[in-house]
Amino acid sequence: MEIVEAAGISVAVVAGACVGSDFERALEVDLRIAGDGARFSTAGVADPVACGVRLARLLLVTRVVPGAALGDAAMALAGQLRALPPLALAAVRDAVRAVRDLTPEAALTLEHRHIRRLIATQDHRAAVAAFFARREPAFTGE
C-alpha cells in the first residue's frame, strides 16, 4: 500500500495485501482506491473496535480499478485534487469529517461558516471569473 498526498488530501493506493497497520492507516486517510487484486484483512490490527467503527461509516474502498491501471488512476486522482482550490478543498475535507457528529442544523451552520469565509477568497473569485470567461481557473490558495 502506498499513501499519496495531493493538495492536502491523503489517498491510500492499495495494489495487493492490506493488513494490520496498513489496514488501520488505510482507514484514516481521506480516499482509498484499490486495484482489483487488492485484499483487505483486519488481521493484526492493534485496535479492532476503532477499525470496526470506522469501517461501518466509511465503505472500505472508494473506487476499484483494474490492477494494471492503478498507478494511472492514482496519478489522475492526485492531478484532479491538485487542480482544485486548496482552501475550499481543505474546508470540504474538514466539513465532511465533522458532519457525522453533528445535528443537521449544526452541520448546516458549519457549512455556512465555511461558505461565508470561502466566498471572500481570491480563489473563489478567480473560479467565477474563469467560468464566465470560459477558461480554466488558476488557484493561488488565497
Binding site: 488530501i9 481521506d30 480516499l31 482509498r32 485496535d47 473496535v49 476503532a50 467503527v53 470506522r54 461509516r57 466509511l58 465503505l59 472500505l60 474502498v61 472508494t62 473506487r63 486522482l77 484532479q80 485534487l81 482544485l84 482550490p85 482552501l87 475550499a88 478543498l89 474546508a91 470540504v92 475535507r93 466539513a95 465532511v96 458532519v99 457525522r100 457528529d101 453533528l102 445535528t103 443537521p104 452541520a107 448546516l108 457549512e111 455556512h112 465555511h114 461558505i115 461565508r116 470561502l118 466566498i119 471572500a120 477568497t121 480563489d123 473563489h124 473569485r125 478567480a126 473560479a127 467565477v128 467560468f131 464566465f132 488557484f139
Partner: protein, 223 residues
C-alpha cells in the same frame, strides 16, 4: 396552479407538479426559491398527496446558484442569501407528503442539494449529478450527501466535484430509477401515484421517521 417568471406549478388529481424554468441551465433564482415555497404551501392547502419537482428543457434539472447573483454578494448579504436557500430546502423537507425529483439533466451545486432534499429521485439517461461547490472554491451538498451515502463515497464526490452520470448515480442509490428522457415524467408520475395511493397519514409519518433516522447525532467512536 400558479407561476412566476421562472417557476410554474399545477396539480393533476392528487399530484402536484413544480417546474423550474430559468433557461438555459435553470440556475436557482429568487423566483424559483419563492415559487417552490408558494407551490408547496398551495399544495398543502389543496391536499396534494405527492409532488413532482423537475426542470424545464433537456439540459438541466437545476444548475445551482446563479454565479452572477452570487458574485455580487458581500459579507453583509451572504447570510441572507444562504438563509433563503435554506428556507427553500427546509420547505421540501418539511412538506408532509413525499416529493419526487425528476432529474432531467444537470443537477449541480445547489441544484444537487435541491434534488437531494427530495424524498425520491428518478432520472433520465441525461441526468448528471455534480457536487461542484469545491470547483468554484466553495462547498455545497456536504450535509445532504453525507446523510445519503457512506462517508467514503461522499468524500469521493465532494472532494473531487466530479460528474456522476445517470448510471453511476443509480448504482450509488442517488437515483431510484433511470429511464429515457421521453419517459421521465411518466416515471416520476408513476412513483408519485404509487405514493399517493397509500394512506397519507402513514406516508407522512414515514417521511418524518426517515428524515429523523437520517439525522442521528452519531456517537463518538468508543475505544
Amino acid at each position: 396552479m400558479g407561476s412566476n417568471a421562472h417557476t410554474r406549478w399545477w396539480a393533476d388529481g392528487p399530484i402536484g407538479y413544480i417546474e423550474l424554468d430559468n433557461p438555459p441551465m435553470n440556475v436557482l433564482s429568487d423566483d424559483n426559491r419563492r415559487g417552490i415555497r408558494e407551490a408547496l404551501t398551495e399544495f398543502g392547502q389543496t391536499g396534494a398527496r405527492a409532488v413532482v419537482l423537475t426542470g424545464a428543457g433537456e439540459r438541466a434539472f437545476c444548475g445551482g446558484a446563479d454565479l452572477k447573483e452570487e458574485e455580487e454578494l458581500t459579507a453583509e448579504t451572504v447570510g441572507t442569501f444562504l438563509q433563503r436557500g435554506d428556507e427553500t430546502f427546509r420547505a421540501l423537507r418539511e412538506y408532509d407528503q413525499p416529493i419526487v425529483a425528476a432529474v432531467n439533466g444537470w443537477a449541480m451545486g445547489g441544484g444537487l442539494v435541491l434534488a437531494l432534499w427530495c424524498d425520491v429521485r428518478v432520472g433520465s439517461t441525461r441526468a448528471k449529478l455534480g457536487a461542484v461547490g469545491v470547483k468554484v472554491g466553495l462547498m455545497a451538498s456536504n450535509v445532504q450527501l453525507s446523510r445519503l451515502l457512506f462517508e467514503g463515497r461522499a468524500r469521493d464526490l465532494l472532494l473531487t466535484g466530479r460528474t456522476v452520470e445517470a448510471e453511476e448515480a443509480h448504482q450509488l442509490g442517488l437515483l431510484s430509477s433511470v429511464v429515457t428522457p421521453e419517459a421521465l415524467m411518466d416515471e416520476a408520475t408513476a412513483w408519485a401515484r404509487d405514493i399517493a395511493a397509500r394512506p397519507p397519514d402513514v406516508v407522512a409519518a414515514l417521511k418524518r421517521a426517515v428524515n429523523a433516522a437520517l439525522d442521528p447525532v452519531a456517537a463518538e467512536p468508543r475505544r
